[in-house]
């Protein structure tokens, strides 16, 4: 019975994804801008030093980025639901409230995976997905990154009341998570402080799994960690973040904003 409800939540997420054309389109265009503008720019500089192709190095990073944005936006639909009132439909349904978090998490994972697959098709057409593909690692990388991003999104969403602070979220969550990972540069050569931060960033390990799966560059541009380390961190973080989000969401009723409003009116 709960399975039906979980399925319905996921289905709604996917309907919304394909109905919001702009969201889907920007998810496709954003990685290409990175690849063809920033990637090509750095490639031109690095070519003189005899380094391997930076554009190929960027492929796992932009796949990760697609999923980071895709999963975060989907996870934040939880906040949209609180604001728009749809959450009311969810909280009166006959299952424990943590199922809402789990269903939304799975919806965000699926939304992220769909977007990653679409970007991969684009990359394949453009000739960026060739050579050293390790299918098992690639699948693990896509799922792992999607789960890390989605559970991070749920964690943020559980504490966020309105979409007003979405810009704040962009600046203080999405961008730091993206920049302070191995997406744009190998971690190994980062200054120590940044390196520590990148190593504490769970998203780094998702992207590293993608590097195991789809990196054309070895050596300097190869993965930073062992697959087992990546998997361990990814699974561990997903479970921990989801648990915390579930507990927080179950405790904090979806009505808190409304109740505050009522209480304030009564005080006046």
């Amino acid at each position: 019975m709960t399975a039906r409800a979980v399925y319905a939540v996921i289905e709604r997420e996917i309907i919304r994804l394909f109905r919001q054309r702009g969201r889907l389109l920007s998810a496709m265009v954003r990685p290409l801008i990175w690849l063809f503008v920033i990637g090509a720019g750095f490639d031109a500089v690095l070519q003189h030093s005899g380094a391997p192709s930076y554009q190929y190095f960027l492929v796992p990073g932009i796949l990760g980025m697609t999923m980071l944005f895709g999963a975060m936006l989907a996870a934040l639909s939880m906040v949209y639901d609180k604001e728009s009132g749809v959450m009311r439909m969810l909280v009166v349904a006959p299952f424990e409230h943590y199922w809402i978090v789990i269903a939304k998490l799975l919806g965000a994972v699926l939304a992220a995976v769909i977007q990653a697959i679409l970007v991969m098709v684009l990359l394949a057409i453009l000739g960026f997905l060739r050579g050293a593909l390790a299918p098992a690692a690639l699948v693990a990388g896509i799922l792992g990154t999607a789960f890390v991003c989605a559970s991070l999104g749920m964690l943020v969403a559980a504490w966020t009341k309105t979409l007003d602070n979405f810009a704040v979220m962009m600046n203080f969550v999405i961008f730091p998570v993206f920049f302070l990972s191995g997406s744009l540069y190998p971690i190994e050569h980062l200054p120590p402080a940044l390196r520590v931060v990148a190593m504490l960033n769970p998203y780094t390990y998702g992207v590293d799994l993608l590097k195991h799966g789809a990196s054309a560059g070895g050596g300097l541009f190869g993965p930073d960690f062992a697959i087992t380390t990546d998997l361990g961190v990814v699974i561990g973080f997903t479970i921990a973040a989801t648990l915390v989000a579930c507990v927080r969401f179950s405790r904090d009723t979806a009505y808190e904003p409304l109740i505050r409003f009522l209480a304030k009116n009564r005080n006046e």
């Binding site: 039906r4 939540v9 289905e11 749809v86 439909m89 009166v92 006959p94 009723t253 009564r266």
Partner: protein
């Protein structure tokens, strides 16, 4: 003792004992007791901010009471939340629908959340769309529906799983008279057909005239309960309503002659027993001084107005 409680629960749809909710030092609901038999149409009436919604949210297991307890459909709201939610439907003061989906998609989503199969959902959604006159709007995005249609759809959403107890929290706020009537016809039909218990909150007291029983709530506490016709009859046979520039003086002048008086803003209300024989005389005497003079039957609004008057309470 335990057995009694179980036997009671079969016939009792909603009961509450000392139900209390405080937000910080704001007392939203204070020691509320309820006993609502299955099948009853119950109205919780009071002004905005009097604690009606908070009461509904506690009974619907969406917020935890600070003290006291309640059982809905035989299950404790504190310990068996999911089971309570399985038995109830809730129509909130604000819409619970998704604006990015169509009318049908909203009902399908609601049906699935309550564990209905795809077939059951389709059959019931079609029924409900027909009952609410929305069959032709089945595939219209919610954003393109009028406020009245959205409200009707939201109520359909709340009953798609055929709840045993339906909570209607200010269901007709913002609706015009025609839409309000249409929605009430729909709810009355559902009640007759399914025998479900309805817990209504409203500040439109005319709407509550059809309730089997009502309770008036003020600042979180129930101040009076009863059966609407009896409450109204207890007031008197007529209400004389006078609006005048100096209402206070007028009230004092006529209090002895007409009956007990209450002054609300610029209006004086007199409760009159028997036929208002003096009306013609009164009209002649007052016509030059007053803005309006009205003699009418009392209604629930008057009950609420008099609710704090000691002579009426006794």
């Amino acid at each position: 003792m335990m057995r009694d409680a179980v036997a009671l629960s079969a016939a009792t749809a909603i009961s509450a004992q000392g139900l209390t909710k405080r937000f910080g030092d704001v007392r939203a609901v204070e020691r509320l007791d309820l006993e609502i038999p299955a099948g009853e149409f119950f109205g919780l009436l009071g002004p905005n901010g009097s604690g009606k919604s908070t009461t509904v949210h506690m009974l619907a297991t969406l917020i935890r009471p600070t003290a006291g307890g309640a059982q809905v459909a035989g299950c404790d709201v504190l310990t068996r939340g999911s089971e309570v939610r399985r038995a109830i439907g809730v129509v909130f003061q604000e819409s619970a629908l998704d604006r990015s989906l169509t009318a049908w998609e909203n009902l399908r989503f609601a049906g699935a959340l309550h564990g209905l199969s795809a077939r059951e959902t389709r059959v019931r959604a079609d029924e409900l769309l027909a009952l609410t006159g929305l069959t032709e709007k089945r595939n219209t995005p919610l954003a393109a529906l009028s406020g009245g249609m959205r409200r009707a759809l939201d109520i359909a959403r709340g009953v798609i799983h055929r709840p045993r107890v339906l909570f209607l929290d200010e269901p007709s706020t913002g609706l015009d008279l025609m839409n309000r009537r249409r929605i009430w016809r729909f709810i009355d039909g559902l009640r007759r057909e399914t025998g479900m218990t309805v817990f209504l909150t409203t500040h439109y007291l005319e709407e509550a005239a059809g309730c089997d029983r009502v309770a008036f709530i003020k600042a979180g506490a129930i101040v009076r309960r009863g059966v609407p016709p009896q409450l109204v009859a207890a007031l008197g046979d007529y209400i004389v309503e006078i609006e005048a520039p100096d209402t206070q003086a007028l009230a004092q002048r006529f209090a002895g002659r007409l009956g007990p008086c209450i002054v609300d803003h610029d209006c004086a209300f007199f409760r009159v027993r028997g036929e208002p024989a003096e009306f013609a005389k009164l009209q002649a005497e007052l016509a030059p001084q007053v803005a309006t003079l009205q003699v009418r039957r009392p209604n629930l609004n008057d009950v609420f107005l008099w609710v704090n008057e000691p002579e009426f309470r006794s």
